[in-house]
Subunit: 371 residues, 2 copies
């Protein structure tokens, strides 16, 4: 159990008037407890109270497993399929002094169960996702160091990937190559998007079947966990050569990325960072193709606070780490993205953690081809 | 779009005083629309209104995909990362006449998003999972026929598996065998638990690594989709032979299963069916080891209504299909389960869809071994 983070959460609850926070299985539960069980439709979760004590509620099916995972310090209460869940939970909340109180929920809490409990036990449930993000938004010295090392793994693998990408390979083969090479360097969790040709125009492309062609664009977006700290970088690679039009678009994306990174200083107003990239893209009227935020925080998970978007009115602080990833996406035609992780370190300096080349990289050049 | 089921849902909304139902991505959305997109932390879902009309709300990132999947009839509204989501959704709900109204939620709706929307737009959200289950709780003639065929695939594969299970095979190899054989018979979705030795004592065992030993018990629990209708059966297999103690436990489980199946007639009171199995198990004081309900409905998903448990006070009706799966589980020691799918058909007759042997099956007998 990460008790120092439980204490931070308890302090934040006090500030925001929550008497407890419910953390259902998922990444947030793993962060606090070191494990996360399967979750089916049966209500379960860890309750953290404002005084820093915790208890767990689950179905009888999972009781033994939870007790052995959580150990002595955290009581585990169970309900049985033949009981009415809300009646049993009502008794538990009564015993824990939470009936009629305000309880926050994490990102995986199931609305249908929470609403049933609210009705039965007169609970006011509220969104506690921002609190759970705030708890770990300022990275410790150790977390900062692992973020650097995680980014270094991604960088090293990029250079290796440049030798691997060739016409005839599938997107899936390139993904598997990235996975293997990150794992070979000690990464414990790996993820990747490899989007080639028109597929690069979909920011969240999920396929792996297209075969790389000569003169393709290949967008790589990947990362891994190293000592629990995630990396996440994107580079756009040109197969055979780069056309004038591609060069022009790439230059725009690179300058958009540079404009946001230049503003990412301690104390910077986050909405301005999003805006800076869009202003560059709008030199060509292309800001509207950037359909997502310019960046997201990173650490124990790939997406966490602080989100780099105009609807996040706050300033950058020491210990924050986040992506800067503007792109241009012309649906079904062409897409490019340049993504680095940026960190405001403990001295208040800005570090761009990814050191991979920013210039357009051409692999397998075709003699005489300039697009 | 399954319009006949949308109409059923609309009628149920009227009865229960809901003005709309929100269906976020997952199996329930696939059921109604034929597809389900990825869901991240960004709010999205299909709203079905009491008048049977629908609209979809999602992040701009997913807008194009959703429009192409949903076609002309369903308007898709998007919000952008740089907007405050709740403000945009508030405008949409206002336009759709839903501000201040009561909206039901499905099983994947995220509590944190729903609570934020409730606060901003004065919505009363309620659990609509029971409505979504009710919509399809009575299987049509066609669904009944595919349930039979899906069960027949599982039965056929069981006989093949008896030749495959041997000391030295891993649980994972047996799982893969079940998957391949079901797929070879036309199944489009396959799932399995293979729990050997002490692992059989955990009803929801998830491993695949243990190597089968002589004198093991191997619990198989598996099924597949055939024309969208799921099968789900469990059999307990004895490697080398069966001891007197095992025979005695198995006999108890078999009689518990038979007792519940004997009661499963049109009009039967569901809590009695659960109770019947437990009464048999309690001849040996073992009802308390059955930590889950005796059964669950089945159809488009493996677990749906009607749940066969004492906290489900209703009667069996024509068209209902469900599992009967009592077991005995002595944690870390021994476990057994016997599961069939039972259906009340359109004539009101009870059909046990699984025809696999009920007697204890011994594979690779050891000469002279009787436990």
């Amino acid at each position: 159990m990460r008790t120092e983070y439980i204490e931070k959460l308890a302090a934040l609850m006090k500030e925001s008037g929550m008497d407890a926070v419910l953390i259902s299985p998922g990444e947030e539960l793993t962060f606090f407890t070191g494990f996360s069980p399967m979750m089916c439709e049966r209500f379960q979760g860890l309750f953290v109270k404002q005084d820093g004590t915790c208890f767990y509620v689950c179905n009888l099916l999972y009781g033994d497993q939870l007790r052995s995972e959580l150990g002595e310090g955290v009581p585990v209460y169970t309900w049985f399929d033949n009981d009415e869940m809300t009646e049993i939970v009502d008794g538990i909340l009564e015993q824990q002094g939470l009936k009629g109180k305000t309880i926050g929920v994490n990102s995986t809490a199931q609305a249908f169960n929470v609403l049933d409990i609210a009705e039965k036990s007169d609970i006011t449930f509220r969104n506690a996702k921002p609190l759970l993000e705030e708890v770990r938004i300022h990275k410790t010295l150790e977390e900062q160091e692992y973020l650097r090392q995680s980014a270094a793994i991604a960088d090293a693998v990029f250079l290796e990937a440049l030798d691997f990408i060739k016409p005839g390979k599938t997107e899936g083969q390139i993904m598997d190559f990235l996975f293997e090479r990150m794992q070979a360097r000690g990464a414990s969790f790996v993820e990747a998007i490899v989007a080639s040709g028109p597929n690069a125009s979909y920011p969240h492309y999920e396929g792996r079947d297209r075969v790389i062609q000569e003169k393709d664009i290949v967008l790589l977006d990947y990362g891994c966990a190293f000592h629990e700290m995630m990396s996440d970088m994107s580079r756009t690679v040109f197969v055979g050569g780069i056309s004038e039009y591609e060069k022009q678009l790439y230059d725009l994306v690179e300058r958009a990325n540079a404009a946001s990174e230049a503003l990412a200083k301690e104390g910077a107003w986050i909405p301005d960072i999003d805006k800076a990239a869009r202003e560059v893209l709008d030199e060509q009227g292309l800001a509207k193709t950037l359909v997502n935020r310019v960046g997201h925080g990173i650490g124990y998970s790939t997406h966490e606070g602080p989100y780099i978007k105009q609807s996040n009115p706050r300033r950058l602080e020491r210990g924050m780490a986040f992506s800067i990833e503007p792109g241009v996406y012309l649906s079904g035609e062409i897409g490019m993205r340049l993504e680095d992780i940026v960190m405001i370190n403990d001295k208040g300096e800005t570090e761009v953690l990814n050191k991979s080349p920013r210039e357009p990289m051409v692999v397998c050049p075709i003699e005489g081809y300039h697009g």
